[in-house]
């Protein structure tokens, strides 16, 4: 007998027909709305991320599913996947990075314009994963600074989306002056950038 397939048993009512970004805190009256420039720019940036996929293995396949119609990363404003580092905000490194590939990742990172964010998807990009061997970079944070790590081998599309939402959170809250701060400069210095 065929096994009955059942899913989506728990019915979740929609909160709204159309999901729209929340308005930042501010003062408003008739015909005006005043808020911090920081918040407006954060709002704009976080809802229109241009991801740059750097896919080298199976995590890249999961990313393709994430971009596809079923999981649809486009729902979160990251519809436009750019394949030029010059135009992208978010470097998504997915897969094993061999030591010989390390300088390539770094060069792609250097070619991106500020502000830029990096997400390491999967065990290999985060820590070398199962490839504890002489030829594999033990985590891309040895060559570029990483904002969010997504665990999994490979992570499911939901996990990748969760990572991107974490990045959105970071972007939305980031101060406009952060990239000029001493702490940020020291971080870049520690990677030998500028």
């Amino acid at each position: 007998m065929a096994r009955p397939v059942s899913y989506n048993l728990i019915h979740k009512p929609l909160e709204a027909d159309i999901s729209i970004a929340q308005m930042p805190d501010g003062q408003q009256g008739e015909g005006f709305f005043a808020t911090k420039l920081n918040d407006v720019i954060g709002l704009a940036r976080k809802n229109s991320i241009w991801p740059l996929p750097f896919a080298t293995s199976c995590c890249g396949i999961e990313f393709m599913a994430t971009m596809g119609s079923h999981y649809d990363l486009g729902r979160f404003g990251a519809e436009r996947v750019g394949f030029s580092p010059r135009q992208c905000d978010l470097l998504m490194v997915m897969g094993t990075i061999a030591k010989k590939m390390g300088p390539v990742v770094k060069q792609v990172y250097l070619q991106m314009a500020e502000p830029r964010w990096v997400i390491a998807v999967g065990a290999c990009a985060s820590s070398g994963g199962i490839f504890d061997t002489y030829s594999v970079l033990q985590g891309i944070d040895q060559v570029v600074p990483v904002d969010v790590y997504v665990p999994g081998c490979p992570p499911r599309p939901e996990a990748i989306i969760d990572g991107v939402l974490k990045i959105q959170d970071l972007i939305g809250k980031e101060s406009l002056r952060r990239r000029n701060g001493d702490q940020y400069k020291a971080l870049m210095e520690s990677y030998g950038i500028q």
Binding site: K99, K100, S127, G128, D132, T133, Y134, S135, V136, Q138, G139
Partner: protein
């Protein structure tokens, strides 16, 4: 043509110098002194009967316990006419791993000798461009020699105890 005939032709030509004939799963393998490697390869290539004119593989093996003949270089040859394959090995001392290059005979040996140099440190005398091919240029050892552990020795975030290597 059978393995017996190949063995017979080789012994006729090289006598006692070709040795350790072995028939594993129908594939002939034998060894020769390393100075003779080009002579043997040339003979296998030129001989009207043998016609081993295609090199399928060339690689190295490290036997740390065989003093004086630690490094082996293995040639896999293929006779495309009769569809017969064989393995030919030469051994060398790890302290002086010089072996004549086969690039003059097989162009395919160029890439594979660079790879064998990269991983085992076999010095192919006469190779046109003997430098690392797969590993990073900065690597200062030959990673497939047995004295080097597989794990990345520069790692800092992995606790040996957690990985059962305490």
């Amino acid at each position: 043509m059978t393995n017996e005939i190949i063995k017979q032709r080789l012994t006729e030509k090289f006598g006692e110098q070709v040795s350790a004939f072995e028939d594993s799963y129908g594939m002939l393998s034998f060894e020769a002194p390393k100075e003779l490697n080009l002579k043997v390869l040339n003979f296998l290539y030129d001989d009207e009967q043998l016609k081993f004119r295609f090199m399928t593989d060339l690689t190295g093996v490290h036997y740390p316990n065989q003093t004086g003949r630690e490094l082996a270089v293995v040639y896999h040859l293929h006779n495309l006419v009769d569809n017969i394959r064989l393995r030919f090995k030469v051994f060398t001392d790890i302290n002086q791993p010089d072996i004549y290059t086969a690039t003059g005979l097989f162009s395919a040996a160029n890439w594979m000798e660079r790879e064998t140099y990269d991983f085992f440190g076999v010095n192919f005398v006469g190779h046109p461009n003997l430098k690392r091919i797969l590993n990073v240029d900065e690597m200062d050892y030959f990673p497939l020699r047995k004295e080097f552990p597989l794990e990345d020795q520069t790692r800092i975030d992995k606790d040996d105890e957690m990985f059962g290597r305490g």
